[in-house]
Amino acid sequence: MFIAAALIILSGAMGVIVARNPVHSALFLVQTLFGVAALFVLQEAHFLAAVQVIVYAGAIVILFLFVIMLLGVDKVEDLNVEPIAGQRPLAVVIGAAGIGLMLTVLVIATDVISGAHSSTGPLGESDIDEIAKSIFGDYVFAFQLTGVLLTIAVVGAVVLARRAATDPEPIPESAYDELVAAQIAARESTLTAEGGDGTAQDGEETTDDGEDSADDGEAET
């Protein structure tokens, strides 16, 4: 059973990072999350398995798919474009090194898992009872903080995604390079300007000019 769950998890994880279409990545993520839920069931963590399926597969992945569809970015990403030279081989090397490091530590470790065993003895039949005692007992302050955290997250999401009346117009992709070049030029001119309020003002003006020229480029295209 463990081997089956592990295969489901690892194949799903590989699918997430290999799939070219973001929708396929999200579906592979569902596969991985269900595998992790199965692993939780195998370890007698039934409550967490249920929460994993409901919250992760039911809410988070749906949110991912919703945003993908909303933004219309469900197009194939060209994986052949490599923006930073040598980024991909380096990432694989770092990944292999990390796996090697962790497995080495695991092999070197003399005992299976060190640490003090719980003084209350083995976990009882019902993990829900135990988790409830733990969350509403020892960790009740942290539990209330998560309530505050969720409230802040909701408010932040609304503020971030709200379409303000003064929202700037979308910039077409063809104008990105000009925009970035103008910003870099403005930043450099601000940096090279030496001290004093007058020169700082000049820098600000240069910034405005840069943005204007970017807008001109957009209008032409």
Binding site: V16, L48, V67, E77, T146, A157
Partner: protein, 100 residues
């Protein structure tokens, strides 16, 4: 019963797959999915440790990780929506200047 060591091996593999994906992919949504993979790897490890040590604390920690992951996804996707509204075809490389 499978040794708990194999759970730790699985967690390590899953975590590093997430790390590699985060470094390789450029679509911000897929990068978020890779962060979720890494969080799940940690969850697997926490449950394995908690089971081995007969301590419910591991599962409690996983519960809090789930809540924080949900909050993180909500805020992150809101940022992605805000960025994509301004730069419809942006990848992670196009928003490297922290200026609108």
């Amino acid at each position: 019963m499978i040794s708990q060591n194999w759970h730790l091996v699985l967690g390590a593999l899953l975590f590093m797959i997430g790390v590699v994906g985060l470094m390789v992919r450029r679509n911000p949504l897929v990068m978020f999915m890779c962060v979720e993979l890494m969080l799940n790897a940690v969850n697997v490890t926490l449950v394995a440790f908690g089971n081995e040590l007969d301590d419910i604390g591991g599962q409690t920690a996983v519960f809090f990780v789930l809540v924080v992951a949900a909050a993180e996804v909500v805020v992150g996707l809101a940022i992605v929506v805000a960025v994509k509204r301004r730069l419809p075809d942006a990848t992670a490389d196009d928003v490297s200047v922290l200026r609108g």
